[in-house]
Each structure stands twice: as C-alpha cells, then as structure tokens.
Amino acid sequence: MKGSLGRLARIFLTYSIKMTTLLLAVSVISFALVSESPVDPVQQYILGLGTAVSPEQREQIEDYWGVDEPPAERYIHWLSELLQGNLGESLLYRRPVADIIGERFLNSLALMLCAWVLSGGIGFTLGCIMGMYQGQWPDKILKRICYIISSVPTFWLGLVLLLVFSVWLGWFPIGFSSPVGVLEEEVTIWQRLYHLILPAFTLSLLSFVNIALHTRQKLADVLNSEYVLFARARGEGPWTILRRHGLRNILLPAVTLQFASFAELFGGSVLAENVFSYPGLGSAVSAAGLNSDVPLLLGITLFSTLFVCVGNMIANLLYGIIDPQIQEVSL
C-alpha cells in the first residue's frame, strides 16, 4: 500500500506543478487577449457611472488605472494583486469580483453537481444495458438515440424543454433560481430544487452520451473475456455476471471519465444558464463579455480553468488507483 501511496503523491506533485504553469499561461494569454480588445475600458467605466465626466476627471481615472502603462507592467501589477486575493472590482455589478464569483459559483455548483450526477447515472445505466444486449435491438436503438442527442445543441434543447414544460404544460417556472418577488431568506430548498430541475436535466443530456458509449465498450470487452465465458459455464446468469465481473471493472473508469469531463460541463452550463436565465457563473461570463466587464471576465476565465484542472487532477489520481501496475507494486 505504501508504494501506491507514494506513487499517488508523486502524481499529485507533478500535476500540481503542471497546473500552476497552465494557470500562469492562461492568465498571460487571457490578459493579452483582453488588452488586445478594441473596447475602451475607461469609456465603459464612465458609461457605467451614469454621470457626465469632465476631461480632467477622465484623465484622473486613466492615471489611477494606469491605462498608459505598457501591458507587461499592467500584467505584473494585476498578477501581484491577484496573488493577494484581489481580483479587482466588477464594472457591471460594482462589487469585488471575488465576491461575485463566490456567490455565483454556489449556484452554478448546485446546477453542475445535479447534472453531473444525473448524467453519470443515466449514462452508466444505459451503457450497461447497451453492453449487456450488444448487437441486439435495445443496443441498436439506444446507440441511435445517443448519436442523435450528441448532434443536438444544448441551448436549443433547453429552449424546447422550456417551451414544452414551462410554456405549454406550465409545470416548471420560466427561469431564475428562486421565485420572483420572494425574499432571499424565505426561499425554501424545495423551491430551489424546483427551479433547478429543467436546467440540470438539459445539461445532463449533453454529457451522458460520452459515458454511455464508453461504458458500453468496456462492458463488451469484459463480457468477451475468458473468465466471463468460464462464469457462464458455471451457470451464472447475465445479471450475476454483470454484478460480479462487470461492475467491478467498469465503474471506476466511468467515474474517472466523468471527472475528466469538467470542461464540457462548464461550457454547457454557460449555455444552459443563459437559456434559463439562471444566476450562475455562466450567465455572469456572457454578461461580462457583452458589457466589456474586463475584471469579471478575467476572473471567471481563471476560475473555470482552475475548476477544470481540479477535475483533471482527480481523474489522474483515479487513473493512478486503477492502473494495474500500481496494484502489482502494492502486493
């Protein structure tokens, strides 16, 4: 066991170093991209103030922000503030970016977690069914459905679900994470869940295909092996074989794959949140981009990268656990 722990620690260490270099590179690239933008941040700030600004005041603001400094100097200034935990102030919401990210991430996390668990569950179950009936009609039908779903854009699926369940049937609310006109403290957990169902369902339909097809392949490999043939010869039924030989071999790879899919999950949540006007990070990032809110845009970009990296790191650690070579070392 000790050897395996040591190896895991090594994976953890190398990945942490890699993650730091990746985050640094993302910060440089995104900063360069944002400073390339033709949008004038001072003009945006003044527009946001809503009052007239004299040329002298404008000069003062420019001086305070250091607009005329070379980009490299500005970058280093921004990075040193960033390392002290100061992400700047959002132009759009007039509040510290860190606060907005923290608050909205909780909303997004609830949404993404639901979708993540749901898509994992649906995908794994369907994958098992497809693998069990490989080549027969349930497999063929489900495979076709999987291919069709992977061609459907998330936001359109969201629109259709919204149309059917909210507008026509009236079962679900049109948007937002809580009822309109109710105080924040009075919103119950059930109301929150109720508002979460449609966006979470939309988001999970996006990602279950991957896991289903992967599980199908893995299970097919297991069922074609000689030990399963022997188990059949002993008289084990198909469900016993799935329980005894299948699940043990395919569950961890599926979980690993699920952790490695954080990037698609986050990308999908941007679209789903915009369709359902759900107040999470995804709707904040598009609002930030459309209103030229540079600090918020940079903050969310870095945060989403961190989020994806953490997912990849967990996937890598899990790979370390399921890799048979490690188990040989530990024996």
């Binding site: 890699k18 270099t21 990746l22 590179a25 993302v26 995104s30 991209l33 944002v34 390339e36 933008s37 033709p38 949008v39 291919y147 069709i148 061609s151 459907v152 854009p153 998330t154 936001f155 359109w156 629109l159 259709v160 919204l162 149309l163 507008v167 026509w168 049109i174 990037a263 698609e264 986050f266 990308g267 999908g268 941007v270 679209l271 915009n274 369709v275 990032v285 598009s286 981009g289 459309l290 030229s292 845009l297 969310i300 970009t301 989403s304 990268t305 994806v308 990296c309 990849n312």
Partner: protein, 274 residues
C-alpha cells in the same frame, strides 16, 4: 459479389448525402437578401403553405432565414475546421517526428487549450477581436484541433516504427522525403475524415456562440441569432421560431456527421475490404 454490392451501396449513400448537403448550401447562398426582408403586415404568422416555417416578429420568412443562416454556419464551420485541421496535422507531425522537447511543448499546449472550457475561450477570443465574424472564426479554429492532433501524433508514431520507413531511412532518404512520400499519403484520409467529423462541432459552436451574442451581428440571418431572438417571444406562445430552425440545424448536423462516418468507412484501410 455480395461484398462488392455493399461497398457500392455505401458509395451511393455517401454521394446522395453529399448531394443533399451541397443542395442545402447552394439553396442558402442563392437566396437574395431582399427576399428575407419581410413586411410587418405578415408578422408572427404560424407555419402555413406560403410560409412553411412561419414568420418572425418582423414579418420575415423563417424558412428563407433559416436556410440562409445554415449556409452562413456552414461557411464559417468549414473555414474554421479547415484551419483547425491544418493546425492539427502540423502539430501532430511536429510532436511525433520532432525532438523530445517539441513533443513535450506540443502536449503542454494541447493540455492548455483543453484546460479552458471552449465556450469561455471562444468568448475571450471573440471579445478580443471586438466580436463579429473574425473573432468567431479564430475562436473556433483555435479550439477544435486538439483531438485530431493527438490522433495524428499517434498515427505518425506508429508509422515510424514500420519496417518500410526504417528501410527508407537506411537507404539514405532524408526526413523530408520520407514525410512527403510515406507519411503524408497515409495521413491524408485521416485529415479529410477528421475535417468532416470536426465540421458538426464547429457548426454547433458557431450557433451557440452567436446565440450568446458574441458571434455574428444581429442583422445576419444566423441560426444562433434566430434562436436567441425567439427566446423573447417564447412566453407569448410563438413556438415556431424556436422549434423549426433548431430542428433544421439538428438535421443538418446529423447529415454532416453521417457523411463523415461513411467517408471514414470508405477511406479507412482496415474496413475498406468489407
């Protein structure tokens, strides 16, 4: 004999799908701009024989707008995929055939691009280019090459261990000669199949980024724009601007995806004998 028939059927199917694809594209391109400009008298009409997809809030015919939008999406998607596929083949060959450190750097860059959610990266690039077509093209081209590059890298690594390449090398052929005469002919089918399989993703990304408001300008008849406009009328019961253009997009993506798979079956040497 039977096998030959199956292959013929496959080729026929591919040709028919390619023709449908070209027909949709040509139909979209040939629609003149004036046809789309509608009149307010005909605003918000549900689907009828004269307007099969109905009309939008400004009285524009949605069928024409949808197909015009599809042709725009296809152009953007094709251009971006082509650039992306070229990047992929350069990176793939560079990583596999170059020095060890080149491989390391390429892998790091791939991890970097995969590490940022694509939607966010395209939003950033589009923001940097001041929104519009240019940012959209660069954004989609910059995010779609990773998996094809990895595939090509693996392919080149495998090819390089083949005996005939070793023989070629022993005969004193230069790396450039081997690249042109041995590697590229092998990679060309991969390249085209990769390109066509990339196209649906590029089209879907184009639509979603335009939907978010970072892609094409609002006056352009793009699918993303139509759907984003339709959101405002959804609660008023206008179902056709949301449902029909999106469904057409899905069908087009399915068609392109299927076309890519048939081509893969036709071009892949391991299944060419079937």
């Amino acid at each position: 004999m039977r096998l030959g028939n199956r292959r013929k059927k496959l080729i026929l199917l591919t040709v028919v799908m390619a023709l449908i694809f070209i027909a949709i594209y040509a139909f979209g391109i040939l629609i003149p701009e004036e046809e789309i400009a509608g009149s307010f008298l005909e605003a918000r009409r549900p689907p009828s024989p004269s307007h099969p997809f109905g009309t939008d809030a400004l009285g524009r015919d949605l069928l024409l707008r949808t197909f015009k939008g599809l042709s725009v999406s296809l152009t953007v998607g094709f251009a971006a995929s082509a650039v992306s596929a070229v990047i992929a083949i350069l990176v793939g060959i560079g990583a596999a055939a170059g020095a060890r450190w080149v491989d390391g750097v390429m892998n790091w860059v791939i991890d970097l691009v995969m590490g940022v959610p694509h939607t966010i990266l395209i939003i950033l690039i589009s923001f940097s280019a001041g929104r519009g077509l240019k940012g959209l093209l660069i954004g989609i081209a910059a995010t779609h090459w990773c998996s094809l590059a990895r595939l090509i890298r693996g392919e080149v690594l495998q090819l390089q261990s083949q005996p005939y390449i070793a023989v070629s090398r022993k005969l004193g052929k230069s790396s450039g000669w081997i690249l042109v005469h041995h590697l590229l002919p092998h990679l060309l089918p991969q390249f085209f199949v990769g390109l066509i399989l990339m196209l649906p993703h590029a089209i879907l990304h184009e639509a979603s980024i335009s939907f978010l408001g970072f892609g094409l300008p609002p006056e352009q008849p793009a699918i993303g724009i139509i759907l984003s406009e339709s959101m405002g009328y959804l609660s008023a019961g206008l179902w056709w601007p949301a449902l029909l253009p999106g469904l057409t997009l899905v069908l087009l993506v399915l068609l392109v995806d299927n076309l890519g798979e048939q081509l893969q079956k036709l071009l892949d040497p391991s299944s060419a004998q079937e």
